[in-house]
């Protein structure tokens, strides 16, 4: 064994290029694989860190109106009590889906996540208690449990126990006493919060009216009881819903561990990134196989001599596999180092919190050992098989070293094709991802998104009317503010209602249409495009509001529809909708205008059908939106300064629309695309390493042949054409495999977007050209050297 290692070391030292390419390429593959493996494990491991996660179920409630995306909605606060009545002994807890609260300290305010929970919450979601006692804390209405991070933020190193925090929820400050500090929640936890307080037995009256809801969790011993509960829930829909909506309501329970990846599209992302990692590793393994068999010829004499000296084929296979094991182990260690170095960078640009853990239950070492064993077998077996097959007599008798047999060459060529097909597909995929990311951030989404600022603080109920007026006036006066409006519905969410609308004489189910309220100058501030009719008009605001059908003479409220609503209502043209009266549960309205669709939601879903109504104050929980003419960042800062002066207890929560859209809808896609891109680029690099190595060995082996060809009159150009052509043929075949594959995959991915780029052929041409150029650049150096060399020198080459 010692002697074998020595041979290996010497051979690696002698063939330094080979060693660097082989171990370096494999290490790179291992690094990419490890990082993406961590990502997949992180994503699929959501909530599984929780002790007893297998027994935790979440009550799911969603509603999907025809033609609209499915909304998740909270469950009724009474549900748990109803279930307990039906299933005595049932263990369950409720929490409010976390709410943004404000922690007030003497001078400043900061937002924090506050969850109101049942006293038993931490029995289902156990968390290490650093100090204090949870049960007694949650038994008091003013008790609060905080995470370590909160404790350190407000009290530093000192014990937080017994200290007080003033927390304003919906503008009502209350003093809480810290009764327990828990460890920070793991990063891959779905239900997180900074502060936990006891849920009041009865919600305040105004919260009830605002659709107060909770998330309900159940701890169920087995699948059978889960099935019983699910059946019960499906059979007893919430009576709080009216007969129209209850048809569209879905109630069920799902395992907690399935919640994070419930959306098919997030699962796709995880699968795709995992595949990229596996593919990078596969490419690296193919390199190993390729280089090892290409080098086989150079080792033929050694192997032949060993056979002459009595080694059996089995012994040789063991020796060669042993060498592979050493090389793979070395690569794995280098790869681990690379991954460790790369992780902070990956986390920064991918928005992840991945890390390598070496000891304990989540140690990477067993996985790494398994990987080494697998790669050794997969990558080492074929070369060992090929090399050990050399016939000693033939090898030793030959004047030249054999160049490997024809099947070997064919296998190598096939592997190069495979590598290049993968690399080209990844390149196309990257191009499409980049194009789509650009598209969603720059496309026309029906309104001028640049220079718009949303001041969400206006929707905070803590803001009193005097402050509101003062702020509104002050903001309007900031130089550079071009227009100001107020509305309930804003990009990224806001408040709105959804309900049926029917047109007289229409057949079939009336469409569900989102109904948003807007104040003066809404469309002008957004720069919406009017398609037909008119916008709400300051001269006719009284008309636009209407006076209800009952007070004669009836003046119906006016609405403006978006294009989708016009289509959903069945009007052939926008102009046909003007002056038409449509019925709603809340009374009939008259259509006075049609504007183009404004995409306030995710690029993944179609734009909602929307009817805008006019309200002088913008409507329920309306916020201000500011159109700036100057530097948006500067104006944002001035709004915040003003706000802290006028309403110090309320967070201004002002953001630019660009930020808001990015945070709500683009960020994840952009970050995941970056991960994909890194993986893809490295996979291509690995492919190039393989190509380079193969070109190096192939040209070295062909030096003599090139010399002969030149002696026979081939010019440098002839030789270049021959060598490059020989490499371009596999590239060409690979392209023919890659293009349809990538087209299909990217069409599938883009199908998850409503607002998507067209798959331009140029993306494909560009990516293929790039792949081919990289291939040529990779092999050009060596090829040129060989093609240029003096034939006499080449003929001396052995």
């Amino acid at each position: 064994m010692h002697a074998a290692l020595l041979t290996l070391y010497r051979s690696l030292a002698r063939h330094r290029l080979y060693a660097i390419l082989n171990i370096g390429g494999l290490a790179l593959g291992v690094a990419v694989f490890l990082v993406l493996f961590l990502f997949v494990r992180f994503e699929t491991g959501y909530d599984r860190v929780l002790p007893g996660w297998e027994r935790v179920w979440k009550v799911e409630r969603s509603i999907q109106f025809p033609g609209n995306p499915r909304f998740q909605i909270p469950s009724s606060p009474e549900l748990l009590a109803q279930l307990r009545a039906a299933f005595p002994g049932l263990v369950g807890v409720r929490m409010t889906p976390y709410d943004t609260a404000t922690v007030l300290t003497g001078q400043s305010s900061a937002t924090a996540r506050l969850a109101l929970v049942d006293p038993g919450y931490f029995r289902i979601f156990p968390s290490p208690v650093l100090e204090g006692d949870i049960a007694s804390t949650l038994a008091r209405p003013d008790g609060i449990v905080v995470t370590r991070m909160v404790a350190e933020t407000y009290f530093g190193r000192a014990s937080a126990l017994g200290r007080t925090l003033t927390v304003a929820r919906d503008g009502k400050p209350a003093v809480y006493r810290i009764g327990a500090v828990i460890a920070n929640l793991p990063a891959n936890t779905t239900y997180v919060s900074d502060l936990f307080a006891a849920m009041p037995a009865r919600p305040a009256a105004d919260e009830q009216s605002a659709g107060y809801g909770v998330t309900t969790f159940l701890s169920l011993p087995d699948a059978a009881s889960a099935e019983r509960i699910a059946t019960f829930i499906r059979r007893h829909p919430d009576p709080g819903f009216n007969a129209d909506s209850i048809k569209f309501l879905t109630e069920d329970i799902t395992p907690l561990a399935d919640v994070h990846l419930a959306d098919r599209r997030s699962r796709t992302v995880v699968t795709v990134l995992g595949t990229v990692g596996a593919v990078a590793l596969l490419l690296a393994m193919l390199n190993y196989v390729n280089l090892a068999t290409a080098r086989a010829g150079m080792r033929a004499r050694e192997i032949a001599m060993r056979k002459v000296l009595g080694a059996t084929r089995g012994m040789l296979v063991v020796q060669l596999l042993g060498e592979a094991l050493v090389a793979v182990t070395l690569s794995a260690l280098v790869g681990l180092t690379l991954a460790e170095i790369a992780l902070p960078f990956v986390n920064a640009i991918g928005g992840t919190g991945l890390m390598l853990v070496y000891w304990g239950a989540r140690s990477i070492l067993p996985a790494l050992a398994a990987l080494v064993a697998l790669v050794t077998l997969l990558a080492g077996f074929y070369p060992a098989f090929v090399i050990s097959r050399f016939q000693p007599a033939a090898v030793l008798a030959a004047a030249q070293t054999p160049g490997g047999d024809r099947t070997g060459a064919r296998v190598r060529k096939a592997l190069v094709v495979l590598q290049f097909a993968i690399a080209t597909s990844l390149m196309i995929g990257t191009a499409v991802l980049v194009a789509q990311a650009r598209h969603v951030q720059n496309a026309d989404i029906g309104f001028g998104r640049d220079g718009l600022i949303i001041v969400n603080g206006f929707g905070d109920r803590a803001l009193d009317p005097a402050q509101r007026t003062e702020l509104a006036t002050a903001i309007r006066a900031i130089p550079g503010v071009a227009a100001v409006t107020t509305s309930g519905i804003v990009p990224g969410g806001g408040s709105f209602a959804i309900g049926k609308m029917h047109r007289a004489g229409a057949t079939g189910d009336p469409p569900m249409i989102v109904q948003g309220t807007v104040g003066a100058a809404f469309f002008e501030t957004y720069r919406a495009r009017l398609i037909a009719g008119r916008l709400f008009d300051p001269a006719r605001f009284a008309l636009d509001i209407g006076n209800g059908e009952k007070d004669p003479p009836a003046r119906l409220p006016n609405v403006i529809l978006n294009r989708t609503a016009v289509r959903r209502l069945g009007f052939a043209r926008a102009a046909d909708a003007i002056d038409q009266v449509v019925a709603r549960d809340a009374g009939a309205v008259r259509i006075v205008g049609v504007v183009d669709d404004m995409r306030f939601g995710t690029p993944r879903d179609p734009v909602d059908a929307l009817a805008y109504s006019y309200r002088p104050d913008g409507g329920y929980r309306s916020v201000q939106v500011v159109r700036t003419a100057g530097d948006a960042a500067l104006i944002l800062a001035r709004i915040e300064t003003l706000w802290h002066r006028i309403a110090p207890a309320v967070p201004p929560a002002a953001v630019t629309v660009d930020q808001k859209l990015y945070e709500s809808f683009y960020r994840q896609d952009v970050q995941r695309s970056r991960l994909f891109m890194i993986g893809a680029v490295l996979a291509v690099a690995i492919g190039c390493i393989g190509l380079y190595g193969l070109a190096a060995f192939d040209t070295a082996r062909r030096v003599k042949e090139i010399g002969i060809r030149k002696t026979l009159g081939a010019s440098t150009t002839d030789v270049l054409r021959l060598l490059i052509g020989q490499f371009l043929k596999p590239v060409l075949i690979a392209t023919m495999i890659a293009v349809p594959l990538a087209y299909y995959a990217m069409e599938h991915w883009l199908a998850g977007f409503d607002d998507r780029v067209a798959l331009s052929p140029w993306l494909f041409v560009g990516a293929v050209m790039l792949a081919a150029s990289i291939a040529v650049a990779t092999i050009l150096g060596q090829t040129l050297r060989v093609a240029r060399s003096e034939p006499a020198r080449a003929l001396r080459y052995q």
Binding site: R406, I708, K710, T711, L712, A714, T716, D718, R788, A792
Partner: protein, 226 residues
């Protein structure tokens, strides 16, 4: 046909400079059959390679049919080799991955002519040296003599005016060596100019002139008086 004037070739490696050829003056007329002899390492192969333009002189003039090609561009030399020269080596230098027929065809690979004509010429060349029946084999499946005859076929398939042979019989037994010399003699009789390096005095006798070399210089040049 060939005029070499004060031609020299030195090889510079890291430490030492080797003078392989120093001040060679040699003329070869069209139709000649010249044998070059001399001890190992005296520069015979170097001289032949320079004549064949697969190596370049460090100094001096090389006139090929009146044109100085010592410093001609590489592309011109490739063209010259393609159209005018044929090579035969001691170690055959056949390409293992190609069949015998493909190896022979390589002699025409860089010329433009109809594929059919190429095929006919290849067949004729193989016939001529008597290896037509082995055309589908690979070089390592042939004996040394057969391989050398294939190499000769490759050299003559382009009908070169000048054939350069570096110890063409060096790796062959007497009988095979004699066969190869026969073929070369015939080619010369048909008008080809031949320059051949050999260690065998009897083979040198077949040539019309023998050039003796020592330490990179020409000692004597004797024309055989028939």
């Amino acid at each position: 046909m060939i005029h070499l004037q004060d031609l020299s070739r030195t090889y510079a490696s890291d430490e030492i400079e080797t003078t392989a050829l120093g001040g060679i003056d040699l003329a070869v007329e069209a139709g000649e059959f010249v044998a070059i002899m001399g001890p190992s390492g005296c520069g015979k192969s170097t001289l032949l390679n320079i004549i064949g333009t697969i190596d370049r002189p460090t100094d001096g003039r090389y006139l090929f049919e009146g044109a100085d090609i010592a410093r001609a561009p590489e592309a011109d030399l490739a063209k010259l080799r393609r159209d005018r020269l044929g090579f035969v080596f001691q170690s055959f230098n056949l390409i293992d991955e190609l069949t015998i027929a493909e190896n022979v065809a390589l002699g025409l690979a860089y010329r433009s002519m109809p594929a059919r004509e190429k095929k006919e010429r290849v067949a004729a060349a193989m016939d001529r040296v008597g290896i037509a029946h082995r055309q589908r084999h690979h070089p390592h499946q042939l004996s040394g003599g057969q391989q050398q005859r294939a190499a000769i076929a490759r050299a003559i398939v382009g009908e070169p005016r000048l054939i350069l042979a570096d110890e063409p019989t060096g790796n062959l037994d007497t009988e095979n060596g004699a066969q190869v010399m026969d073929i070369l003699g015939q080619l010369n009789a048909e008008g080809a100019t031949i320059v051949m390096v050999t260690h065998s005095p009897s083979h040198a006798d077949i040539a019309k002139r023998t050039v003796h070399m020592l330490d990179g210089r020409i000692l004597s040049s004797a024309r055989r008086v028939a």
